[in-house]
Symmetry: C2
Subunit: 323 residues, 2 copies
């Protein structure tokens, strides 16, 4: 199966399933099952899974897998401007006790780093040859209003906080056999894939003034399209503005790749960024991290991309292939 | 690998992992990571996973798998006397859209039956040949005090609400090739395996007066031992008193099995009962469901079993083999 066929298959399956759930998940707390979080009293709550071979590589260090599980969940809180309150974990464990021990150690590091109390969960040893499968439910306390991904208004400026594409390059490097420490120019890219950093403070600073906010997990293009659709709007992105890191630019220079359109399309469809995507009508407050305007919301539905050469045809796959 | 070696392997792995988590999961909310729930503000919260080939069979109907996921989570609330508030699901889906559709339908039935709002979650299509893996985090509102599994006092009477062993017989029948509707005497046993009913009302009625309470998920003997250990106590069970259903008795009569010790040891190690195990000093209030006194808590640590023939040697495996 080609990668983009696989993407289409899984997206079709997941979308059909979520549509089936929507027939009975109709409480306000569910936020239409199209936001990053649900609400629970005065808290927000979210759940993200990571599966071996889908969201992480079999030879990723277990400490990093644990960090990633915490980080992808914390990123959902960041997108709602919420402070971490607690987490519960469902751990589908390895049969190798050493792997599990490393995972527990990495989870301890992540929880200490982000002030996240892990308060309970469930464990099961996965059957032989089955992928390690981890889930986490995270609760956070919003600091006032909770931005919805579907809140964008016509005329809003669209921004990204953070950089796009590093994790995708890190994944590509690992799949090509590169190892951490082998080339220090590449290490930040591998770290971006294995140890994403949730933008909690940035999200908290922005939440009071944004109209829509979400984290970029599956790829900038697909997530931008989802934001526009959830808002009943369309979105135009300026591909040239998509923020790349110095490490990414140095990687592409080293590859002899000079086609800016191709470089930025790669970044904008790579996924696993855990940057924040948001829209605002008003001027932005000071917020930590690199913030870049990348587009505009308009009434006409759809995703449009332009760059200095003109209109950019939409790529077949707008997001991460999870492969 | 023999079943009891497999049990020993998975229990060793899970225990080592939980011990590693305990080094940093030290908030009061975590309740020492040895209760069925954690606390979250004025709520209790729990997470249970079910994995294909471990907790359910590949040819169990997907509607029933969904019901079971909800029921095993609701059973944790029952053990704390809590009313369901909301659930979040992590769905590691099948590649067969029909299976997923059935699962969503069954989840809708369970949520409607038990008044459980499903408010969010995450979906991932599991890799080819990987087991379907589902997790649920459930939140409930306790009605006053929250019984801990570690609250048993010396001299307490030990009780079971519900019956023991039906689900284990249902699983054995299914593994032997029996099908629902093939022999109507067996249907309630198969239903007990596939569609356990959480004892929510019973748990709520009992919570104000019990000293310790937990649900029986892995097997009566192992769960009784865990309750005693968490309480710093020992426990003596009267095997003859272990409550069996009419269907179970009829099953054993049909098998020509008359050895009561063997029948009741089978039930008490089968697991998947989702009965309530509790201890009390005071007389019990009226509560729905069959309630049976099965033993006594004492100061000397350890699990002891007696029956009309005298002391019963502990079986090699005290609980469900998950196989």
């Amino acid at each position: 199966m080609r990668d983009c066929d696989y993407l289409a298959l899984t997206m079709t399956i997941e979308t059909a399933f979520i549509d089936a759930l929507r027939t009975f998940c109709d409480s306000d707390a569910a936020r239409g099952l199209n936001d990053d979080v649900a609400t629970l009293g005065d808290l927000v709550i979210s759940h993200d899974m990571i599966v071996e071979g889908v969201h992480f590589l079999t030879d990723d260090p277990p400490e990093d897998v644990a960090w990633k599980l915490a980080a992808v969940n914390l990123s959902d809180l960041a997108a709602k401007g919420a402070v971490p309150v607690a987490a519960i974990m469902g751990a589908g464990l390895a049969r190798d006790p050493g792997w599990n021990e490393g995972f527990a150690k990495g989870m301890g590091q992540a929880c200490a780093t982000f002030g996240l109390p892990l308060i309970g969960g469930d464990t099961v040893v996965m059957p032989a040859a089955a992928p390690i499968t981890m889930g986490m439910t995270i609760m956070g306390r919003p600091q006032g209003r909770i931005p919805h991904r579907g809140g964008a208004l016509a005329g809003d400026a669209v921004y990204v906080a953070g950089v796009i594409g590093d994790a995708g390059l890190g994944l590509a490097l690992l799949k090509a056999g590169h190892r951490l420490g082998q080339n220090q120019d590449y290490d930040p890219l591998i770290a971006a894939y294995r140890r994403p950093v949730p933008m909690l403070e940035t999200g908290r600073a922005l939440a009071p003034i944004v109209n829509a906010m979400m984290d970029v997990s599956d790829g900038l293009l697909i997530d931008a399209k989802r934001m526009a659709e959830a808002s009943g709007m369309g979105i135009t992105l300026n591909l040239d503005a998509v923020p790349l890191s110095k490490s990414a630019l140095s990687y592409w220079a080293g590859q002899g790749e000079g086609d800016q359109r191709s470089i930025r399309l790669n970044a904008a469809t790579a996924g696993d960024d855990y940057a924040l995507l948001f829209t605002a009508t008003r001027p932005l407050p000071p917020a930590p991290g690199k913030i870049t305007r990348i587009g505009t919301i308009q009434r006409e539905p759809g995703l449009r991309i332009t760059d200095s050469q003109g209109e950019v045809p939409l790529p077949d796959a707008l997001g991460w292939l999870h492969r």
